[in-house]
Symmetry: C2
Subunit: 306 residues, 2 copies
């Protein structure tokens, strides 16, 4: 079971070498992260984009562009299509966003011919190592699905549990979060949380233990759980997956962790044929590297399944 990004990166090195395909790779921050991932033995990269720009940016960063396979395609839409096809065809194992807008990038992910659709909804998972918390936390969805329905939440759980399994967490504990830990008919999110718990008990959601509604303190703090007399619950400070009511709650907690706590984090898009790395401008260098490592671990697990 992986409990830190150091362990995650060590695990990646034991797996067969993975390759990330980068769409519109002429992006300094992305190239830096991709290069660090290569130097650390996490993954190789194929760079698709404007070759001239890629070479110039690489040289500016003291990166030797000749270490990489570069496919020259200056048009953004075409570059994304070419890059995603490499993963669709199994030439690369993960797909990463470079210097194109999220909309254009997602269009390539969802392309019916060369894209990475599985028929399931896509969701985002942000994995956190937080000082003082023993287990990794899998936050979802903090960036992609805005107002998930009950059905969407089932898919989000399935997508995220697969990532937990890839990290060696065999039976992850999933906490559908709310402001309170009891069902209140005036708060629909608590009713849905209880319904997800029931579906898990009835075997309709498998490979994990669901227990909600839960407040965040009972989900992540064993002492708080004990203090509140929550020891009879299936989750008492040991939640792996934090399922948020909506994107506002999720994103605000995500940014609260990044900007006020001591953390390491990385994130990927799931529900796709291969893991998709969709880091944002504001993510740190290390977050980008961690995201590539996380994607590699998930890619390895997917390979085992196929």
């Amino acid at each position: 079971m992986i409990t830190s990004f150091d362990e995650l990166i060590s695990h990646v090195k034991e797996c067969g070498k993975k390759t990330v395909s980068v769409a519109v790779a002429e992006d300094g921050a992305v190239l830096e992260a991709v290069h660090a991932a290569r130097e650390q033995g996490i993954a190789d990269a194929i760079l698709v984009g404007d070759e001239e720009k890629i070479r110039a940016i690489a040289k500016g960063l003291n990166i030797d562009p000749d270490e990489y396979r570069i496919i020259n395609e200056p048009d953004h839409t075409q570059a994304a299509r070419t890059a995603v096809k490499l993963t669709h065809d199994g030439v690369a194992d993960m797909y990463m966003k470079g210097l194109l807008d999220t909309k254009g990038f997602l269009k390539s992910v969802l392309d019916k011919e060369v894209g990475l659709r599985t028929g399931k909804p896509l969701s985002h998972v942000a994995v956190f190592e937080v000082e003082g918390i023993r287990q990794l936390l899998f936050l979802t969805d903090v960036a992609f699905m805005t107002y998930p329905t009950l059905e969407d939440k089932v898919h989000i759980i399935e997508n995220t549990v697969a990532v937990c399994h890839a990290c060696g967490i065999e039976n992850p504990k999933v906490a559908p979060l709310a402001a309170v830990e009891v069902v209140n008919p005036k708060m629909p999110v608590t009713v849905e949380a209880a319904e997800l718990t029931r579906m898990n008990e009835e075997g309709k959601i498998t490979g994990c233990v669901v227990d909600g509604p839960l407040s965040l303190d009972i989900a992540i703090d064993p002492e708080a759980a004990a203090h509140k007399g929550a020891t009879g619950r299936k989750i008492a400070g040991d939640a792996d997956v934090l399922l948020f009511p909506d994107i506002h709650a999720g994103n605000l907690v995500y940014k609260c962790l990044v900007h006020t706590a001591k953390v390491e984090n990385g994130c990927i898009l799931t529900g796709t044929k291969v893991p998709v790395i969709l880091t944002s401008r504001s993510d740190s260098f290390q977050t980008k590297v961690n995201s590539i490592a996380l994607a590699a671990v998930v890619a390895e697990a997917m390979k085992d399944q196929n």
Copy 2:
């Protein structure tokens, strides 16, 4: 301008002595906090409840019960009514919950005869001192109002801005938060945030600067704000008030701060005739003391206004 709880407590000591009236005071954790507040010169207390039990608990905590005025009223409802009347009549300056359930306590707060109604909706404010953040953060509403409407949010801002003013923050910056910092018609909370901003610009919300929608990083992290090119905004990492979309988002961020960051915090209920202290079992000793100090500062400001 107060920027820490140490400063807040120093300020309280410069004000005239305040008194807190405690409803159903036979509660060890509450008595400990009340006693610490007294010893630190923050406030005196009048203890209303079962005198025999109060004396026994006090002695068990090495507190001399004779230091306090005790009003013997073993019945919880009557004790709350008596205690709230003391603040209603100006004998005490703040009202605090002891060993009775929140519902019964709020019933006394809202009592038409002896309660603390002002005609305005009540809201909760949690004040945080967070390591690495220069200003105090006023989080609202993380515990009381569940799904505030636009009109409710105007009242929440007014209630909270009054608390900021009491803390010497003359023109607090109010950030209506969301997952994103731009208006998206598919996310109603962003539309409402923009509307609150407009109302502030038109002088319908005064005594503060409102700028929303804002993501949490732009609200509290000047570096992140600069990185995202948010320097043209009215708020760029220097928000005082964090206004949450709903209680789930608010409560989850609140608990995230308490359980993963280095913080000091205290909270009160506002929109009442006098500040109301409604701490919960799970609040730490220090949080309870801080809450009494916060209430005292607000009580002083209210006295100045009357």
